[in-house]
């Protein structure tokens, strides 16, 4: 009985494994794998490796459905990050991950370490990180605790990214009280790599040394992975949240890239969730090898740490590296230059065991296959929730407070729709001097040094849509991401996703997961954007309330020539405004799922079905938009999404250029006030607003006709900086752009700076 820990018999008799989150069945399976009772340390190791967070036991059967291959895919799911070819011997490496549970407890560190973790996943592959994005969900800002979670998360994201010197170029923030106790923080990192520099997390070559590099190991974050796999984070301890050190990670980044560049690295892996345990087991598993690790050699920052604590610590900014035997000195020298430690703690074996020793004593001895490949799969029950069959498809009747203009102003001041400047001005979006389109447009655009190319990035998701129709909502998230890239002039390449859901043990929640994953899969096939990695965050529930099913899509697109970069802001008066897609879709589709309905009828906003979504329509609109950009026909492009048509038009007008908009809609029959609301604020998908110079109007309409895509002339860009909407001869909305802009720009700041 080492370190006063319970004996294997006590672990069994007192059911200590239960407190680690292992079920009876799983414990029996461990005994069968080992052929004996596991000791305390081994029980801990199994519990984290078999946790939802590490093993994806609920979601694995679902994830298998994603399309993961394609001509350009160099690395699909299974490594630290996926890789996609962009030509010129270059590739883009990217991944998105959630850090929801830690953020709910300690928002600054929770969000910061989420950023730190995803950056490590990228440079572990040998790639130079070039951009960060995020996707955030909070409860509404009229609540002080929500403001606290929001402001500290933003500060944490900025604090980490700004310090390490990777620009935070984009993202999204949505406010809805369904996230009040379960905020979502999903962080995405993108890197660039030359094909021949790709590193992997493989521990191969018997007797090759295994090194721990970077920060020292402490007791922080023990059982963080387990804690992310159970219900209600508020019942958990704050000590399970890690603390980040971006300065340390900057040094680690530079040292690791320098080390990988020597070509003497066999394998390298981030120590993220479940720290040394999962990094060592996964590296050995990929190589089909074994490892011997001596925990007495691990540099520590606390005294008397047990093997159990050492294996389960989630101290940040650490990596596990396997070097060619005899080449360790290279690592020592490089890490010393950067003021870091690199320490050999063991070696690769060929017996397939993860063997943890403490000096002469064996502390744990487990077959790697038992930890990784034999991790249990939980086939969860799935049940279609009743509410889905009770949704209404008619037009909701809303009470307009005073005028359509006031409705528009009110909508523009909604936290979800309002400008996110308050957020992104706190992020360094320009460091590395390759950011060509900063936050605020449809997608961020970052240059590829040494080429004419640029990459476009976006994160998109709409939990309310997925709640109202899991399959279609999942597909629409992918469609919107692709649409945003296309509006920026990029060809969509591939997807990373974060699947944020409630408690999968509830059949209705599992149904949401399953159906939305199918929708995502289908859409990824249609848009030829394979899923090359991502993660799953379950158990986002508290006080019995589950979050909306919120898959977030991170998508990367390629712009072959920087001349094709497109933004959403209006450029010059006299240009025409067109809508690609169905102008009056709202008359049939209504306001289902819209932000407007949430604003005006919060009690019943979940009673109405989503607008129709047709893949062919979406594809057609995107194809026309991208081709028009590449043919040089457009000056601005902006997709119609949250808030609908008028919000999208207003967003295009609110620029430094001080321009106005005058549009005239000519319906073929008289519209009631209620009809108008649906046309103005309905969120029917598959629509893009574009700005066209007069001489190119003919070319645009011909292109659209050729593709069978509706293309309606709405009006013109004016120089008087007024926003005017006519229905036939009647002015129905008129406002100085300045008035719209101050509502839109000031909304979040008025809560946060007040």
């Amino acid at each position: 009985m080492a370190h006063g820990e319970p004996t294997p018999q006590q672990v069994q008799e007192q059911k200590i494994y239960r407190t680690f989150g292992l079920t009876e069945e799983e414990y029996e399976k461990i005994i069968a794998s080992l052929g004996r009772l596991p000791n305390y340390t081994e029980t801990g190791i199994f519990s984290v490796m078999w946790s939802e967070h590490c093993s994806y036991k609920s979601s694995r059967p679902v994830l298998r459905r994603f399309p993961t291959t394609g001509e350009r895919v160099l690395q699909g799911p299974g490594e630290n990050a996926g890789i996609v070819d962009i030509g010129d011997n270059l590739a883009v490496v990217f991944k998105m991950e959630s850090h929801n549970h830690p953020t709910a407890i300690e928002p600054y560190q929770g969000a910061a370490t989420g950023v730190g973790g995803i950056i490590r996943d990228i440079f572990t592959m040998g790639a130079r990180p070039i951009a960060l994005l995020n996707s955030l969900r909070f409860g509404e800002l009229n609540d002080a605790h929500n403001r606290y979670l929001f402001s500290h998360s933003v500060e944490g994201i900025g604090g980490y990214g700004n310090c390490i010197g990777i620009p935070t170029v984009g993202g999204e923030v949505v406010f809805d009280n369904r996230y009040t106790h379960n905020p979502l923080v999903n962080a995405m990192c993108v890197g660039l790599i030359a094909h021949d520099k790709i590193a992997t997390g493989t521990a191969s070559g018997t007797n090759n040394p295994v090194l721990v590099v970077g920060a020292k190991t402490g007791r922080d974050g023990i059982h963080g992975a387990t804690f992310a796999s159970t219900q209600d984070p508020h019942a958990k301890e704050r000590s399970a949240v890690q603390v980040g050190d971006p300065f340390m990670e900057k040094l680690l980044l530079e040292a690791c890239l320098e080390l990988i560049d020597t070509g003497k690295v066999i394998g390298i892996q981030d120590m993220g969730a479940a720290g040394l345990t999962s990094s060592s087991a996964e590296m050995a598993s990929r190589a089909g090898s074994g490892l011997v690790l001596d925990v007495t050699k691990v540099p520590v920052r606390e005294t008397a740490m047990t093997p159990y604590e050492m294996m389960l610590s989630e101290s940040q900014e650490r990596m596990l590296v396997v070097m060619e035997k005899g080449e360790e000195a290279i690592a020592y020298e490089i890490f010393e230059k950067w003021g870091l430690e690199a320490t050999a703690i063991g070696h690769v074996t060929d017996d397939g065991f993860l063997r943890i020793v403490e000096g002469e004593t064996v502390a744990a001895q487990i077959p790697v296959t038992a930890l990784v490949d034999e991790a249990p799969i939980a086939y969860r029950a799935s049940l279609r929730p009743r509410y889905l069959d009770e949704l209404r498809v008619d037009l909701p009747v809303c009470q307009v407070a005073s005028s359509m203009k006031d409705e528009l102003v009110a909508l523009l001041s909604r936290e979800t729709i309002a400008s996110k400047e308050w957020v992104y001005d706190q992020y360094d979006s320009m460091v590395r001097t390759e950011t060509f389109v900063r936050p605020g447009s449809d997608a961020a655009v970052v240059g590829v040094p040494g080429t004419k190319k640029a990459l476009a990035f976006v994160t998109d998701g709409n939990g309310r849509y997925v709640y109202l129709d899991p399959h279609q909502g999942g597909a629409m998230a992918v469609a919107e991401a692709a649409r945003n890239l296309v509006c920026s002039g990029a060809q969509p390449l591939a997807v990373t996703d974060c699947l944020n859901y409630g408690n999968p043990e509830k059949p209705e929640i599992f149904y949401q997961l399953e159906q939305s994953a199918d929708g995502i899969s289908r859409a990824c096939e249609v848009f030829a954007t394979p899923v090359i990695g991502g993660n799953v965050s379950l158990y986002n529930e508290s006080h019995g309330i589950d979050i909306y099913p919120t898959p977030v899509i991170g998508m990367v697109g390629l712009i072959e020539d920087v001349k094709d970069i497109m933004t959403s802001d209006l450029k010059a008066s006299g240009h025409a405004l067109y809508l690609l897609g169905d102008l009056f879709a709202g008359l049939d589709d209504g306001l289902g799922g819209s932000e407007y309905l949430l604003m005006r009828d919060p009690m019943h906003h979940l009673d109405y079905a989503l607008p129709t979504f047709v893949f062919d329509d979406e594809k057609g609109v995107q194809d026309v938009c991208l081709q028009a950009i590449q043919q040089g026909l457009l000056h601005a492009a902006h997709d119609v999404s949250d808030g609908g048509l008028l919000v999208a038009l207003a967003e295009m007008a609110m620029t430094e250029n001080k321009l106005g908009v005058q549009v005239r809609l000519s319906p073929d029959h008289a519209l009631s006030t209620n009809d108008l609301l649906a046309v103005f604020f309905g969120e029917s998908p598959s629509r893009i607003l574009v700005e066209v110079a007069k001489q190119n109007e003919q070319a645009l309409t011909s292109l659209a006709t050729m593709h069978g895509v509706p293309c309606v002339r709405l009006g013109e860009v004016t120089k008087d900086s007024t926003f005017t909407v006519y229905i036939d001869q009647d002015v129905v909305v008129q406002a100085p752009v300045q008035e719209l802009e101050s509502a839109w720009r000031g909304a979040i700041g008025s809560w946060m700076n007040g």
Binding site: N162, G165, K250, F436, N753
Partner: protein, 228 residues
């Protein structure tokens, strides 16, 4: 013209500075590690932006004790051009090469945006290609950019025409006294500024107004050394 860009642990605008010098002038630029003790081979020294030593304790407070800083001071004294950008400005004030200090932004928040600067003095090696009173667009990205000096020091700066850039009136992003964005020493060979000219060297970056700062430096050097 040989430019040294000092690299502290935690510098992160170091490569941006190298790229900017190389793309805007006919000179060369290279990274110089913070343990270097002799900078006599260089004509221009850039102390770049970033978070040297994590900005722990206080921005620039640890970097100023770095071995290379003695060499920076020596070359500054010899009249070489020494330019500190953002964190570099903080380091130069901590090292006593420039007066004043950079405090936390008045908003208490990090702020990144395109700032508008007024060129106050074109009679420096860094600004000779600008017009006096010209408004230029140069990005800022800092949490501690709130320039402070006591009244006597500010009067001294005014009197000696050491204030090179000010934020445009009503557009002061951080609470700096006198809207000060950049200053030079009395000798005008040491410049410190919070905005990032190296981030404004191409229209694709949203502004090319920083180019003339680098061409000013290059012209100054060429006038002194002839073309080489």
């Amino acid at each position: 013209m040989k430019t040294a860009v000092i690299q502290f642990p935690g510098s992160n605008c170091d490569m941006d500075a190298v790229k900017a010098v190389q793309s805007t002038t006919a000179g060369t630029a290279e990274l110089v590690w913070h343990t270097t003790k002799d900078l006599s081979a260089y004509d221009v020294i850039v102390v770049p932006g970033g978070f040297s030593y994590g900005d722990y304790l206080r921005a620039g407070a640890i970097a100023r004790f770095s071995p290379v800083m003695d060499a920076v001071a020596t070359e500054a004294l010899r009249g070489k051009l020494v330019m500190g950008i953002c964190n570099g400005f903080q380091v130069l004030t901590e090292a006593g090469l420039l007066p004043g200090a950079l405090r936390q932004n008045e908003s208490l928040q990090f702020r990144c945006e395109m700032a508008q600067l007024v060129v106050e003095n074109t009679d420096t090696p860094y600004t000779r290609s600008y017009h006096e009173g010209e408004v230029i667009r140069i990005p800022i990205a800092h949490g501690e950019g709130n320039y402070y000096a006591d009244d006597a020091t500010v009067q001294e700066l005014e009197k000696n025409e050491q204030i090179v850039f000010r934020y445009r009136k009503e557009h002061n992003p951080n609470g700096s006294v006198g809207d000060i964005a950049g200053i030079v020493n009395k000798n005008k060979n040491v410049l410190g500024m919070m905005p990032h000219p190296e981030r404004a060297v191409h229209e694709l970056l949203g502004s090319a107004d920083g180019v003339r700062l680098f061409t000013s430096i290059f012209t100054t050097w060429r006038d002194a050394h002839g073309t080489r």
